[in-house]
């Protein structure tokens, strides 16, 4: 079924329009929920970013005492946890929430109340994380990976890890409910005539991402539950002294957490596939190839988790398998890169802020992709595993990839969502601060790692000092850039000029449905459902 043009209204809250705070608290409108996801995401982005600046300040020179070692470990753990579970995943869910139903010509998500629950679960989840910092023993300090036995009660006795587990449980539940909602929405609520090969690339990317969430996140939930019962009820899944095995946790954790990389980057790739054609005034190149390669990444992504465990002593033939699978995943990723280049090749490029971010995404993601191939090679991986080389690699993928894409998408849809235009000059300035600061911060980390500097250390030996000075300087450049971003967004929300329905002047071939309705779109998006030809 793909929704007739007389589909009944799906939200029940609009009979008496609510105002003020209750408009947000009780809403089931996918657009308002999407906006709340974005706000929540940027709150945690700001907090996680401040933590990162503190960490870099501690690491500016060897032997500094800005942070105590235990505080360093807590902030480092929360930085990773916030950026992954409370910024990247929710903000992508938020933009998906806002844009996907409109792009497929629907009035809302399939289950609007479930949608609201998905969002509101994140509030107690985030509060648990934040409050753990102020309790005895502080927040979880075992990294976002929380390997036992370090995360077991014996070595982390305080409530920090318990709150971390329960917070992630709620965030995971939010993700799973959201995933069901997205999968059903894209499957069943497409406008008449929108066949599979007419679904916009961003919606395909979100759909495939949500399928990954549906298969991967329950495994994380299971592993977290096992860790919790180990801590609370005396089980010993991961406790070697009672016959358990800490390496089992690593398998279960990475079975979720490698696909999680794709959960964080595929929707961004969908945004890039949307933004590049718009600002090159040219149709997306190789649409079917992009859909197939996205699905391919989704599947192969489940077969590569072992490359996080090459130095744990797992069987060599297993290591070789994971090595091959991790190399193979570079092929569909490459297909995307070449297709994007072919998309802008010969176009009429307008270098507005979203386009700068989209092109910056390609330039940086290629670096993360290349180092990713090297890390698939077991012997080289063993050499640099758990060093700053991996920190560099993952930030080129998640900062150079996901975050650049999030900015591309956010600037692109800002006029649609807010009904106002942002300041273009400030946007471009923000891009240059981000692009330069990003490379200053993370490029030197490749060198530190190759030299042998381990990650997650609160201080380091003098031979790594020079590159660390550069990285800390770069992080401050990034900090200034992000200030420009927040100023631009807040000012423009308040005082920006009004946006028309299509401020980007799309050509017909790149104009998705959200640009056919007003900015912001009316309640329930479409008076009559569009027919796709």
């Amino acid at each position: 079924m793909s929704g007739g043009s007389h589909a009944p209204s799906m939200t029940d809250a609009h009979a008496k329009p609510r105002t003020g705070i209750s408009k947000w608290l009780f809403t089931t409108d996918h657009k308002l929920i999407g906006v709340m996801y974005v706000w929540l995401g940027f709150f945690f982005f700001a907090v996680g970013g401040l933590f990162a600046l503190l960490l870099r300040t501690q690491l500016a020179s060897p032997g500094l005492h800005v942070l105590k070692p235990e505080v360093y470990n807590q902030l480092m753990s929360l930085h990773g946890t916030f950026m992954i579970f409370f910024f990247t995943i929710p903000i992508l869910a938020g933009l998906g929430n806002y844009i996907v139903p409109i792009q497929i010509g629907a009035r809302d998500m399939a289950f609007p109340r479930v949608n609201a629950i998905s969002f509101w679960l994140l509030i107690p989840a985030g509060l648990m994380m934040i409050s753990s910092m102020f309790l005895q023993g502080g927040a979880a300090a075992g990294g976002w990976t929380s390997y036992p036995p370090l995360s077991d009660r014996q070595y982390s006795p305080g409530p920090g890890v318990d709150l971390w587990i329960l917070g992630l449980h709620l965030a995971g539940l939010s993700s799973i409910l959201g995933a069901i909602n997205f999968v059903v929405t894209v499957t069943n609520l497409r406008a008449p005539g929108m066949t599979l090969w007419k679904i916009p690339m961003f919606c395909w990317a979100v759909f495939i991402t949500q399928c990954i969430i549906l298969f991967a996140t329950p495994v994380l939930a299971g592993a977290l539950t096992m860790l919790l019962t180990d801590r609370m009820f005396g089980t010993a899944f991961f406790l070697p002294s009672a016959g358990g095995d800490p390496v089992l946790w690593q398998h279960l954790f990475w079975f979720y957490s490698h696909p999680a990389v794709y959960i964080m980057v595929l929707p961004g790739m969908g945004m890039i596939s949307q933004v590049l054609p718009v600002f090159a005034s040219k149709r997306l190149f190789g649409y079917k190839g992009l859909v197939i390669s996205t699905a391919g990444i989704g599947v192969i992504g489940f077969l590569v988790w072992g490359h996080h465990m090459f130095s744990t002593g797992i069987d060599p033939s297993l290591r070789f398998f994971f090595s091959l699978a991790s190399m193979v995943i570079a092929v569909p990723t490459g297909v995307k890169i070449w297709s994007w280049i072919a998309t802008i090749w010969g176009g009429s490029i307008r270098l507005r802020t979203p386009m700068l971010y989209a092109v910056g995404f390609i330039a940086l993601f290629v670096i993360g992709g290349a180092t990713g191939v090297w890390l698939a090679l077991v012997p080289f991986d063993v050499q640099v595993h758990d060093t700053y080389f991996v920190v560099a690699h993952l930030h080129y993928v998640l900062f150079g990839g996901s975050l650049m894409a999030i900015f591309a998408g956010l600037y692109y849809w800002f006029p649609k969502i807010s009904g106002r235009l942002y300041n273009e000059k400030l946007g471009q300035l923000h891009f240059w601060f981000t692009f330069i600061g990003m490379n200053l911060t993370f490029m030197p980390m490749h060198f530190m790692g190759i030299l042998g500097m381990p990650r997650r250390i609160y201080t380091y030996q003098a031979q790594y000092a020079s590159w660390n000075h550069v990285a800390t300087l770069g992080s401050y450049v990034l900090g200034v850039g992000m200030l420009l971003f927040f100023v631009n967004m807040l000012w423009s929300l308040w005082k920006g000029p009004r946006a028309t329905a299509d401020p980007w002047e799309h050509i017909e071939a790149t104009k998705t449905l959200e640009w056919t309705v007003t900015s912001p779109p009316p309640a329930e998006n479409f008076a009559t459902l569009p027919i796709i030809r």
């Binding site: 190789g286 079917k288 290591r319 297909v335 009429s348 012997p379 063993v382 042998g452 997650r456 609160y458």
Partner: protein, 237 residues
């Protein structure tokens, strides 16, 4: 691509990396001056990977830059309209795939080489503690902690790595050795250091508050000096 051009690319790439990394770090680093056979192999594989992937990387970055500089919107110049080319798409799927198959070969042989512990001249047991290392020489009945590990030059050392509490990782970058120390398991690795000297490393798996202070020092001495040292240790000096 002929073997000679591959060799040339390999060499050029290695030279470029060497220049970049000399600027980056001290002359003793493993990629310039490997001190164990494994580190030699890892370096060779790294340079092969650079040579094989470097071309794609440079091509992608150059094409992006050229596209952005060349195809800016100009009045009166309409954008191109092509949006698919099956032959091109097959090509850019197949060529990287073949390249990766080529790269898988040396990966496998190097992995096998690292993995197979040869008949050893000396066994040391490496045991991680929060936050120091304990070393045992079972063949000599010597046990100590919080001191440098001492091994003879040019001998094959088998290291049995484990932990008493949380997961640690014994990592000496110069040797190309990193092995997780898991409680309840013993992992096996090996190294043979080609020259004498003091080599430093540190724990590479987050293991609690003082993870950053869990240093490793390995003193590599001549076999004669090692014999004297181990005799002294046995007498409890």
């Amino acid at each position: 691509m002929t073997f000679a051009t591959l060799r040339l690319r390999h060499g050029l790439m290695a030279a470029a990396v060497a220049v970049a990394l000399v600027a980056a770090g001290p002359a003793w680093a493993w990629y310039l001056d490997p001190v164990t056979p494994v580190a030699h192999e890892v370096r060779t594989l790294f340079f092969k990977a650079l040579a094989l992937t470097g071309g794609f990387f440079i091509l992608a970055e150059v094409l992006v830059l050229v596209a952005v500089l060349r195809f800016r919107a100009r009045p009166g110049v309409p954008p191109a309209t092509f949006h698919e080319n099956v032959r091109l798409e097959i090509l850019w799927t197949a060529i990287p795939a073949i390249t990766l198959v080529i790269l898988a070969g040396p990966t496998f042989t190097t992995l096998k080489y690292m993995e197979t512990v040869p008949k050893s001249d000396l066994t040391v047991e490496v045991i991680g503690h929060q936050w120091f290392w304990e070393y045992r020489y079972p063949e000599h009945g010597v046990v100590f902690a919080n001191e440098p590990l001492v091994v003879p030059q040019g001998k094959i050392i088998a290291a049995d790595v484990s932990s008493i509490d949380v997961v640690h990782s014994w990592f000496v970058a110069d040797f190309g050795v990193k092995m997780d120390a898991n409680p309840g398991r013993v992992n096996h690795t090996w190294f043979e250091v080609e020259r004498t000297g003091t080599f430093r490393g540190q724990c590479a798996e987050l293991c609690g508050v003082l993870h950053g202070d869990m240093h490793i020092e390995v003193r590599v001495v001549t076999p004669e000096e090692f014999d004297r040292w181990i005799e002294q240790k046995k007498r409890g000096a």
